[in-house]
Symmetry: C2
Subunit: 457 residues, 2 copies
């Protein structure tokens, strides 16, 4: 059996310090330039040199929860504050590239679906069909309070909200304009076919939207759909809707279990197993020898701000581990369920002593890290591929450094082994990933095709 | 007294048929390519060749009201349907230009102010301070129904809504981050100064927004503020908030009256007369001789779709003039106040017979048209300048043709007379227009500077 190449995505954020906290302090770290279009265009061009499929923008719409009682640590470490809008820099990236997909995270809380659907369709036209949407609900209390809510919605309710949100968007993208509605016929003076452009008259729990969609069908109509939730509600949502899921598992075997489980849910939702691709998050430390790679990994450990790593996790899980010295035993902190499960996880990584805050930071910093020569990294990626992983979401230590290193040193070895594509296949991002511009008929969005076309007697 | 140059703005929309309906059917009309970034980048580069100050994107968030009982005519004539999001193409324009301001229309109904303020700040960084915002309320019933409202808010209530909306945005742009809050200090490992980044805790009638703003202060902080409303509530809103007002008056003398009245309101609002600049909308038909210009004006008349011109006005004023033959006397249609005032206006333009629908369309098509050689056009613009107009918002018949013609043939003559700038002055759009990057202290937004900084004991 010949191996299929892995897909590659660059996991970035329009901020200084995304995942590997503290590394921005290194002189070679360019991520402090996130305000600049040059920074992003330069990165995108490097990614295209390496035939990456996607640049994937994570996002937040508020602060993480308090750490040591305030958001001071987030500000000091540039930890996703400031955090700029990713959607409005996409057209500059699109204009200066030809094949790279551009995935934008957007939460259902932050924008009305009518406006959002219009924005995405505009971008899908502008990029000739290279837009993807990472569908998220909002899990940050400050994010909720930025948008007029007193507190977070209950978890499963957030997914019911997302269900209606995507429904409105699907109706606009797939149902409002029939194929052939845009004519631009100068001879007949007919710009559009009125019989093929429909109001959607959506009336739901949270939204009422009349339509029609204001944008003519874009190359992909619905953007490629990413999702990252791992809760049962999140996995079911992904099984119904997503075409790519971003996962972080400790190793290939755990990935296989998760993928098998989720693919069963995909089939149960009436779709085919291959309709959902899995992207594992990994970061790479590359050396020309193992020794050099290990030395660079040590330097990376030194560059990481362990307290900020803990702050990020803390904010993400809603447990305040802040304000303690790094050698505080984790077991001395609070007694909530959230704390207990984290303590257990970290304790497994140390033996013969009580795990500390420092251990938690170190574990976070080394999580999903692959250290080696291009050849041993390729060996490792072969194992991920064999476990059923479809793609790698490449986490960075520095921008553009981490990607330049990967593209110029690792990708050629992967290409030689058939693990990375040498050339782009033509067409839209969905065409490149799945072989067709549009969602398949078995996807729920497809049910709205023709749904608003009046039935002729 | 030496004359100051006029400012120039290109009045465009991310659609096929914006103002001069029907001209897209001409073979040289490129506006059908509005889905393409190439189309907009090419135009922007032409505008920079002509030292235009701004590309100004009008926008709608729904259909105009029914014409002949439906939206068929709008679809047939490409009349602002499809209509793409202007904000997400701005970064591609910014990346490929250096000095052109980019004005984006956005309605208070379409986006939550927290998300909007973040988007604008991101773009202002990306463009090095070249973003302007045309503040609009929504006057389209379909637009309201696309966003969950049963009907339009009452007119003055829409401006109270806008008052709160800009207040939230001002707090985020001017008050949330003090000067010097972003440090990016690698040595000390301090990315930001916590003491200078504040929540805004806005609690109002329509919005509750905690903050802080997610984006560090951009070059202009608050974008340059455009406004176009001409009602008393609209003029008062502009007098308090706007830095540039888009006007359409029949001639220089009427412009002078309007400008004098509005400037009085500006002063009454505690600002200085020059804090608000006035841009008159005009479109130009240029010939190397008067005879050629007149011939081209005739060709333009022939290219215009009179029925669509009436449909646009109809939709804008909420009176359905649709479904009648073009030679129907206007007096035969309905009897609402809206109809009566339009009939009176058109009747003044014809003598000795009853004005018809065709007259209404012709009048709309020739509205604000200036026909002549570059020299006679310059004469005419001198009169507008002398009447106190600060800038011209140049309406197009074709894109990029109308602008290329103006830039290559008219601008040089204007430059020779000191009526158009030969070179850009350096800096942000506000710096170019008003001499400083930031709003002056007397603008209401400035009241929020330092407003959220805790008072030290």
């Amino acid at each position: 059996m010949s191996i299929r190449p892995l897909h590659f995505s660059a996991f970035v954020m329009n901020t200084t310090s995304h995942i590997l906290q503290g590394v921005w302090r290194r002189p070679e770290a360019g991520q402090t330039n996130f305000n600049s279009l040059d920074h992003w265009v330069e990165l995108a061009k490097i990614l295209e040199r390496g035939r990456f499929d996607v640049i994937f923008f994570a996002d937040v719409i508020g602060l993480y929860g308090d750490y040591g009682g305030s958001y001071e640590k987030y500000v000091h470490s540039g930890l996703q504050i400031p955090s700029n809008d990713p959607s409005v820099i996409a057209s500059a990236i699109a204009y200066n590239t030809t094949d790279l997909g551009i995935a934008i995270t957007s939460s259902v809380i932050q924008e009305h679906p009518f406006n959002f659907a219009r924005k995405i369709s505009t971008l899908d036209h502008a990029s000739h069909g290279r837009i993807a949407w990472n569908i998220v609900t909002n899990a940050l209390a400050n994010g909720a309070r930025n948008f007029g809510y007193d507190e977070l919605e209950e978890h499963d309710e957030r997914y019911r909200w997302a269900d209606e949100y995507v429904d409105v968007a699907y109706k606009l993208w797939e149902g409002s304009w029939d194929d052939g509605a845009l004519l631009q016929d100068r001879e007949r003076g007919l710009h559009g076919d009125y019989a093929k452009i429909h109001k959607i008259n959506h009336v739901g729990t949270r939204y009422r939207v009349e339509g029609p969609h204001l944008v003519a069908p874009s190359p992909q109509r619905t953007p490629v759909l990413f999702q990252a939730g791992s809760s049962p509600a999140g996995r079911d949502f992904a099984a119904r809707n997503a075409e790519a899921q971003f996962i972080i598992t400790p190793g290939p075997e755990q990935a296989r279990v998760l993928i098998d489980d989720t693919r069963r849910r995909v089939v149960a939702a009436g779709r085919e197993p291959g309709d959902l691709k899995f992207f594992q998050g990994l970061h790479f430390v590359v050396g020309s020898t193992e020794a050099e790679a290990q030395r660079k990994a040590g330097e990376l450990d030194d560059a990481i701000d362990l307290d900020a790593m803990v702050a990020h996790l803390s904010g993400a899980v809603g447990v305040d581990f802040g304000g303690y010295p790094l050698d505080t035993p984790l077991g001395d902190i609070g007694h909530t369920d959230g704390v207990r499960s984290i303590v257990d996880w970290v304790q497994q990584s140390v033996s013969g002593r009580a795990a500390t805050i420092r251990d938690l930071g170190l574990l976070q910093g080394r999580n999903s890290r692959v250290v080696g020569t291009p050849e041993t990294i390729a060996d490792r990626l072969e194992q991920w591929r064999a476990a059923g992983v479809d793609g790698i979401n490449v986490v960075n230590a520095t921008i553009p450094g981490s990607y330049a290193e990967f593209v110029y040193h690792v990708i050629p070895v992967l290409q030689d082994r058939g693990l990375a594509q040498r050339e782009y296949s033509p067409g839209t991002t969905r065409k490149k990933l799945f072989g067709s511009d549009l969602l398949p008929e078995r996807h729920p969005a497809a049910a709205y095709r023709g749904a608003f076309t009046p039935v002729r007697a």
